[in-house]
Symmetry: D2
Amino acid sequence: MEQFERFNEEKLPREKVFRDPIHGQIIVDNQIIMDLINTPEFQRLRRVKQLGTSSFTFHGAEHSRFGHCLGVYEITRQMCNNFQRNYPSKQPGDGLWDDRQRPVALCAALLHDLGHGPYSHTFEHIFHTNHEQITRQLITSPETNINKILQRVSPDFPHQVASVIDHTYPNKQVVQMISSQVDADRMDYLQRDSYYTGTNYGKFDLDRVLHVMRPVKDGIAFEISGMHAVEDYIISRLQMYLQVYFHPVSRSMEVILDHLLMRAKHIYEHPNEFEPSFTPYMLMPFFNKRFTLDDYLALDDGVLTTYFNHWTHSSDDILNDLANRFMNRRPFKSAIYDQQTADLLPTLRNLIQTAGFDERYYTAVNDSFKLPYDTYNPKASKPQTQIELVQPNGEFIELSQVSTLVASVSGREAGDQRFFFPKEMLQSQQSIEIFEPIYEKFQSYIQNNHIINPEEEK
Amino acid sequence: MEQFERFNEEKLPREKVFRDPIHGQIIVDNQIIMDLINTPEFQRLRRVKQLGTSSFTFHGAEHSRFGHCLGVYEITRQMCNNFQRNYPSKQPGDGLWDDRQRPVALCAALLHDLGHGPYSHTFEHIFHTNHEQITRQLITSPETNINKILQRVSPDFPHQVASVIDHTYPNKQVVQMISSQVDADRMDYLQRDSYYTGTNYGKFDLDRVLHVMRPVKDGIAFEISGMHAVEDYIISRLQMYLQVYFHPVSRSMEVILDHLLMRAKHIYEHPNEFEPSFTPYMLMPFFNKRFTLDDYLALDDGVLTTYFNHWTHSSDDILNDLANRFMNRRPFKSAIYDQQTADLLPTLRNLIQTAGFDERYYTAVNDSFKLPYDTYNPKASKPQTQIELVQPNGEFIELSQVSTLVASVSGREAGDQRFFFPKEMLQSQQSIEIFEPIYEKFQSYIQNNHIINPEEEK
Amino acid sequence: MEQFERFNEEKLPREKVFRDPIHGQIIVDNQIIMDLINTPEFQRLRRVKQLGTSSFTFHGAEHSRFGHCLGVYEITRQMCNNFQRNYPSKQPGDGLWDDRQRPVALCAALLHDLGHGPYSHTFEHIFHTNHEQITRQLITSPETNINKILQRVSPDFPHQVASVIDHTYPNKQVVQMISSQVDADRMDYLQRDSYYTGTNYGKFDLDRVLHVMRPVKDGIAFEISGMHAVEDYIISRLQMYLQVYFHPVSRSMEVILDHLLMRAKHIYEHPNEFEPSFTPYMLMPFFNKRFTLDDYLALDDGVLTTYFNHWTHSSDDILNDLANRFMNRRPFKSAIYDQQTADLLPTLRNLIQTAGFDERYYTAVNDSFKLPYDTYNPKASKPQTQIELVQPNGEFIELSQVSTLVASVSGREAGDQRFFFPKEMLQSQQSIEIFEPIYEKFQSYIQNNHIINPEEEK
Amino acid sequence: MEQFERFNEEKLPREKVFRDPIHGQIIVDNQIIMDLINTPEFQRLRRVKQLGTSSFTFHGAEHSRFGHCLGVYEITRQMCNNFQRNYPSKQPGDGLWDDRQRPVALCAALLHDLGHGPYSHTFEHIFHTNHEQITRQLITSPETNINKILQRVSPDFPHQVASVIDHTYPNKQVVQMISSQVDADRMDYLQRDSYYTGTNYGKFDLDRVLHVMRPVKDGIAFEISGMHAVEDYIISRLQMYLQVYFHPVSRSMEVILDHLLMRAKHIYEHPNEFEPSFTPYMLMPFFNKRFTLDDYLALDDGVLTTYFNHWTHSSDDILNDLANRFMNRRPFKSAIYDQQTADLLPTLRNLIQTAGFDERYYTAVNDSFKLPYDTYNPKASKPQTQIELVQPNGEFIELSQVSTLVASVSGREAGDQRFFFPKEMLQSQQSIEIFEPIYEKFQSYIQNNHIINPEEEK
């Protein structure tokens, strides 16, 4: 592992510090890390919001992916420090921490979200891009600034970093630092999103979780004395999903964004419909499905909203209207449905179409479910690492075996599925006479934010 | 004041709440306020960062003017509540609080920053726009959504709101709530900027300051028992100026922004230099010095950075380079100078020009000074309201008479003046041989971040 | 309700403020409240720790009942304000808030814990006192300062206040403010204990819970939009029980305290054993089972520890040793047992006795269980009010019907039962040769902090 | 320095953690430190409040010296870590950090306040004890548990630890860690007292101050880049003095305590006046001026208040009344005086005596002044270390040379001198007719909380 020495040759004479509202100080003591942060690829993350449309619900949450990536780096750095201080490996294969893994862990932590674009989830849905693949490319393609810096450590180093992010790196301790049930990524974003939204739900005792974490043979486990801290983390995570990430207004704004981009694509694919000054030059490569890394790197939140801004004046009524709804925050309303009431959706869509809204653009369904925690299940579609606690006698015990609270939520999905529609459908009588009977009919299907069958309720 | 009744007719049956990281809950109990927030004019504030280039120094500070405006509204609301609870006017002219002033106070608070554009300070410098004037227009022009909503209270109401922001409203209590040494505006932004930057300096005891504030004949004064809370606020404000608002890296990025826009304007004014796809359509009205309110409202941070993004590929070397420096955060360096060493600036500019940098675009001076506090001085260029404390026997005493700390800083400006230049000028020998002697000479003028005269130091 | 007017006649011209680390400001605007706080009965609460032996585990938690009582008052005050602002009663029986209930609510809140003595739980166990009964007496006995002040409102007022604390007051909204699943008492202590212990578990969004609370016909319910805030409160409460209130070290110190007082009582009941200077004069009335209110009011934490301090020099070995263990924080160890392993306890006690410890004083069992939440069950030993949410159409729905998380923990008790024994029993071989085989045998019954049957494990 | 190895032999296999509300986690990784904490001498600190009578003003501030001592240890540990990571000594005399100093630094930090008794300041005033001398004895006397544990490191180790506390230890870096303008002691108590009082004034950026601290030849200096953090610390400290430590109500309660102990001493010295059950056995050695270390260690806050509790029933009117005032928080009132108005004090004392109060026990003067910061002045009565900043070129510059704010407060004392008297003197007419003219006269000397000359005011 001579690359460890190469990395250490670039140690800074004095630590540098980024002041961070979540971690206080983020400490960088190596020129390689410093140089990675200073690349255009990494600086671009300042222009991509961490939570996309959530800031329409929680106005405080306007933070970018830049701070989050620094935060994941910082937590990983602290994990390495704790491991090296308390569990230094004495000999290969003893299941303890080999500090020569530090460079790859730190770089993977810093770069794990590098490929995220503006409003990633929606963008990927419409344009079939893939941020994980782009992250990999940004790390391994020889022409990127990132790659050139990583190459200074060793020719193979970029691929090692990418493999950590891909979960294929052989040292599972490093992989689990960045990606597991209790990893640096999640621990940072829960704290950070909690801070910026102004909700308390995401707060857990980070210092304590880090303190009770320890390297074991095939990854990372926790001292049983820290069970409650891990439990609290699991519950905090669940609460953040239910209360922040799944918030119906944010999802509604995402639906509008999705349909807006869909409409723009439709217009593009039916030529001559874009007015010249409304042409989204930087989106062209994506409409054309042939884009380079540079095309991708040119995108950010501001680029998209600049086009939307133009489109608020478009002569295409749907593009114009959806752009206005997005820019001026006029979310769709929504109602919860279930297996039974799903059958009523065609009727509702019909009513909406009759009321003058193109149902392809003005309705949507969206479900948000989250498995709060589960034990390892190789048959699961996305098998997760389970959380193992180390008992005084050295044996492992799986978290839900000792935590009543975790056992209670384990294996049950939490969330809901919703039907989205224009707010206008809930208008009261006095507004527009002509649509009154349609509105009234529609409204008879909605009760207490749920879709109901008005026949059965009688 | 029948407009008070008109306003109250729109009282909401139940309070609505915005969750805010600074104030916890921002409470809205009136449809007028709700509607103002939902206008496109107000929603645009989400796309204008509160601190401009400061987020290049404090990466956490990416918050927009939207949250700040809500915060100023909330603090003003609490002031009205405190005043009404503890100092309700019994008869006109008794110097106590007349709650019929509440509507105008709340609306002025909410809308006081409505006219801010992207990177206001720099933008106004280059394009000679004026955010205060635009705020006034947005409130008083009959075609804006804002104006239409305010008209619901009374035909004269928009002008009343504007006059509070202009300081010409007759009730000085209301004016001072929004604009004075200790106003809702400053109190919100100090707390907010402190929270988002992750510095503690701006924190002071808001609840206590609000508690000791009281209406008096010609404005607002403070119980002497709250002297320390007010004092702490003055010191916090000073610290935020010195440590956050005046940070040399933020000012450096502002210098780059300024010069970048200056260069774009220059190119525009020397036709045919803009490549088609790099044309900043939305800036044209400003280059042409003929812009409408709609042109102004179309601007936001994302629009500017989208053009900068394009310009990073411009064939104009200066535009291209400055755009890259701004987008990828490559600040100029700076050094402090004073009256003596100001004479050396031409020499330094000369060296920079010789090293291949156009000194008009690659150097700048910028001074940032702040008067921490001053007693009222009608001769001052910007006379400030002084802070008056009410003693047990009812007499006033001016703050610096009782606070040693405030007396210490009163009347003395704090800040510095700096000369900005490309980082390259500080390169060490090994880098570029040809410019080595120029660099070396330049560097002999810089010591401990100050400009010195190398002759005298010998 | 002319007593409402009597109370209001004592309104202070200006609000007074207690600075509180949890609520920021505690606001008092009535002389009656001020006078109650200034009584010797209430000031005594400064000398009684809120969490008893918990500060032996969480050294930060040294706060007294004084601050808690002020906090419960403040939360109740805010409840009244919210109710009066959003749900003022228009006519008797409309199920809304009648602000004439405010005086009784505020006084009951302030005084609800007045009868607590030092280390209440243990003290009551040994001396068969009852803090609830004493609270009632302090409020209703005509000779107390408290009673005299309350009488100023009306002759019947003290009894009304006492009946709120007794849950017999006719207005159930008032009763539930002070005592229900989500009452001011619990909401204060969770936040307060969380703050002082330095754990985050007890933090929930108090402002939001207060905001979504509303008066209903037979008590208090919650807007369904605030479901998550209430859910978070339930989980926080559970976590505080499991992690703070049930902490084995605190319980161990409580066991020592219990046995120490038991021994003192034993000595007292077997005359001539107390040395003169070790006589606990102030405890005599309790040994004698004939105590006055004044005897009770003379007690506080310092009085008890002063006697313990004396007893560390007692010639009675057990009294001396237990006093030393308590004063110098030398907790017993403990192990979890269950129905099966309970059978092993006599064997373990036997071993401990053989090792030279009087098992009556050196062992104990203690179980701590908590029902995190339950729906109303009239058959339960302690039937609890269930939490009702109000849906948009005005109908109620019980919390666990909509909260997966609460449903998960509902009806299941959480906690453990433990066997306590001297730490010496876990000594390793080298220490004391003679007891080595006993220790070894004892230790074979303890594994991973549980009592096991060593036979079965083989 | 073989004692360094001896200390390290007792390194714990895994770090232990104290949860602390200020520092989050306090980490102990050595058995010696653990054993010191577990001594009766150290555990006693749990029963001595950190802020004495301040909790009568700030009810939240009931914390003991125990947590503070752990906090000072933790900050010192972090200092050692920072120094060792960034400035490890390469060879003797290079002015960098020699980590073999760590054991003595940690032990001195932990034990620096060990000799504090109950209400130290007042107790020492009355009984002429000296907590610094007792700290030294507890460390160096061979019979203490503390000494025995320290001896495990080396026979000379206890004296080394004591000499750090005495400022005579040769390594000035270690001395200044514990005792200098910016030491671990002050940094802990400012943060801690701020947290518990619920004031924000004492909050400064501890992490940043620690980060910019560095060892230099003769002690400790600060990077100039951290100037603002140090400046903020100086101002925070000043604010805590003015707003918390010098609060007139706390000082008033201290005056009462002082006079109460003075009266008890007087009674003791005039035999037969103490009723048997009121005899303060544990104070006898102090009345007799012959006390042992054990006598001293037996004292704590609870012992004193237990005696005061007894004395509230004493037949000595003054003892009885003062005890009641202290126990039930009935502070004296106070007024500020200056050189001019000091001449009026005899007149005021006279009026008070005439009104029936023994002026020896019912009046007092008390001045509280603090030098916020000063440059080193060998002629000062208590010469302080000045704060030196290290510039980029390695030269030192004294703080007030670069900080306007510190320069403003440097060398000027802040505080006030007050005259204390019974609240009764401010009674209004209706109360007690006979004393009315005296009260009225007295009150003519008090205006806006200052003593004035009523003649001159006319």
